[in-house]
């Protein structure tokens, strides 16, 4: 029998039973997460179109069997693998998709610049109001996005017509992830000793930053950036009210398709969103590790 010795406590029948139950629940949860994803990927490929909007009717198969008038139309059109709905979404919401990507990338850049500098100062130095700053950065995590959006609209009326106000909303809700990822890493090793060693060899402040601190933070910044990108892409609560007719983020466009378009168009729009999102999520699992676990808590 090779491998790690099993902990003694894990051998009773009761524990095995509980572990079995835990497995069952886990499998159910994974299925519950995956099945609607699969249904929307599938729905975007069907050529028939449901009668009514997605948020009210959903897929509409039953309409084909029980409602006579729809049955003929949907059955004559039934088929598979059309790109019609994707082309429709890209034509109507193409600009929105680009705008959302722009928001996500700018959020990553700004949270990195502001967040890494602030995290370094927060861990390295002692100053007045330090604990307060840390509390306030994390505040958006526990306050509703709609309240922040309404506060921003009223307090900064001059920014209202521009896209900067949407950016601000995204930054408020993504900054905590970057700060957590970087401060957790900084607290996990004695970087002051490394800095002192570099300084004793005559390194200037800039050289210490460039060659000692930043290389050690590379991984944390990568994990933080991926989290910021993913969260920014899906942000809805704060940005929905901050959107303007010209500058609209993609989740708001999704809301429009659910309320105005059929299940097929909505599925295509949702699938496009997942195509944008999944690479970031998969990359997170592979580079992840401890930073993800700690920064993702309370996400």
């Amino acid at each position: 029998m090779a491998g790690r010795p099993r902990p003694i406590a894990l051998t009773t029948v009761g524990v095995r039973l509980l572990t079995g139950v835990a497995y069952a629940i886990s499998v159910l949860l994974a299925l519950a997460i995956l099945s609607p994803v699969a249904v929307s990927v599938w729905g975007a490929m069907t050529t028939s179109q449901a009668m009514g909007t997605a948020s009210e009717v959903g897929p509409g198969w039953q309409a084909t069997t029980s409602r006579g008038i729809f049955a003929e139309r949907t059955q004559t059109q039934a088929g598979f693998f059309t790109s019609l709905w994707y082309r429709y979404v890209l034509r109507v919401y193409g600009k929105t998709i680009l705008f959302t990507l722009q928001l996500a990338v700018v959020s990553v850049v700004l949270t990195t610049v502001i967040g890494v500098a602030a995290s370094y100062a927060l861990v390295r130095y002692r100053f007045r109001g330090q604990a307060l700053v840390e509390e306030i950065v994390l505040l958006p995590m526990s306050i509703p996005g709609i309240a922040v959006a309404i506060a921003l609209i009223q307090a900064h009326t001059t920014l209202r017509p521009t896209w900067y106000i949407i950016l601000v909303g995204h930054l408020l809700y993504t900054m905590p992830f970057m700060i957590r990822a970087v401060t957790n890493t900084l607290r996990s090793f004695d970087f002051i000793a490394l800095e002192q060693a570099a300084a004793s060899l005559g390194a200037t402040w800039w050289q210490r930053m460039r060659w000692v601190i930043l290389p050690n933070l590379k991984h944390a910044i990568l994990v933080g950036s991926l989290l910021v990108f993913a969260i920014s892409l899906g942000e809805f609560n704060a940005s929905f009210l901050l959107n303007t007719p010209i500058n609209q983020s993609y989740p708001a466009a999704l809301y429009d398709t659910y309320n105005l378009d059929s299940f097929q168009v909505s599925s295509a729009a949702t699938t496009i969103f997942m195509v944008l999102l999944f690479p970031a999520l998969i990359a997170l699992q592979y580079v992840g590790g401890r930073e993800l676990e700690e920064a993702g808590q309370g996400a």
Binding site: I33, P144, Q154, T157, A230, L233, Y258
Partner: protein, 296 residues
């Protein structure tokens, strides 16, 4: 090495950003909730946010709050939101302890993939979750369709639009956050304590109840606090499926988009913030009190 206190100035951009775009707007929100409500129904004439300190002092009133607490409609919205959030908090903790346990305590092929699947909903907006519950449990959803095919009766049709549908949707949304928090807590748990309890003759239930649960309690409480805060404010799901009853975030949204009554919406926001923050603070205190000893 010279320690430069001026290095602490690196935190300045963040402080400026937070004061201008978080603290100042929130203070403005609180101040504006004390201004008489406008809105299109009463013929809005003034610009949004158009008052100086002097004007504010002259017009300050609590009429928005009187309207809010005097009207059964808004109180029922608040009650619905609180009940929903509590149900979601309890539901997500009791469900997600299972995958957290499996991820820490067992080894199986494809574990990384399983973990990736569980984190999928993390970056979904509420609207997507709303859409997904409609396609699974809505009028012609997948589950009713399958049940119709099996039994000839479309059971569970329209579940998406009920309170239980909302709870399911919000729990779906909470799975990644709750699992990650609980997983970290279980990983820190010292299983020698469990072995010690067993060698002293403790039964399974005694070990769970007197050893495991007390040590995991801080993490459980913080998961509950987080789930509560997220569910109080998340209105994406509710916008899509809450057609049968009123919820606080949806009311706020309608107050803005329907009536442009920013002052009354601000008052509703202040009440929502107060409920969320006090609950969070209380639960955090509770969590700190239950630290039996600091775990490494």
């Amino acid at each position: 090495m010279r320690t430069r206190a001026s290095g602490a100035l690196l935190v300045l951009p963040l402080v400026v950003f937070l004061s201008v775009f978080l603290l100042y707007p929130l203070c403005y929100l609180a101040a504006n909730s004390l201004v008489p409500g406008g809105g299109v129904l009463e013929g809005r004439t003034k610009q949004v946010g158009g008052w100086s300190a002097g004007q504010w002092l002259q017009t300050v009133t609590v009429e928005n709050y009187v309207k809010l607490f005097g009207d059964g409609y808004y109180l029922s919205s608040l009650l619905h939101s609180v009940v929903l959030s509590l149900a979601v908090a309890v539901g997500s903790v009791s469900l997600c302890i299972a995958p957290a346990w499996v991820l820490v305590r067992t080894q199986f092929p494809g574990k990384r993939l399983f973990r990736a699947v569980l984190t999928i909903p993390m970056a979904f907006s509420g609207v997507i979750v709303g859409f997904m519950i409609v396609i699974m449990l809505g009028r012609w959803g997948v589950i009713p369709a399958v049940l119709h095919w099996l039994t000839g009766e479309a059971y569970l049709s329209m579940t998406a639009y009920t309170l239980s549908g909302l709870v399911i949707a919000y729990v779906y949304f909470e799975i990644p956050r709750a699992t990650l928090t609980l997983e970290a807590a279980i990983r820190k748990f010292d299983f020698d304590l469990d072995a010690a309890a067993r060698s002293l003759g403790a039964t399974l239930w005694q070990r769970l109840w007197y050893v495991l649960v007390p040590l995991l309690l801080p993490a459980i409480i913080s998961t509950v606090a987080l789930a509560f805060a997220v569910s109080m404010g998340s209105f994406g799901v509710a916008l899509i499926i809450a057609k049968k009853f009123n919820l606080l975030p949806v009311d706020i949204f309608l107050e803005i988009t329907g009536y442009a009554n920013f002052e009354f919406a601000s008052a509703l926001c202040v009440v929502m913030l107060a409920v969320t923050l006090t609950t969070n603070l209380y639960l955090r205190r509770l969590g700190e009190r239950h630290y039996v000893f600091k775990q490494r």
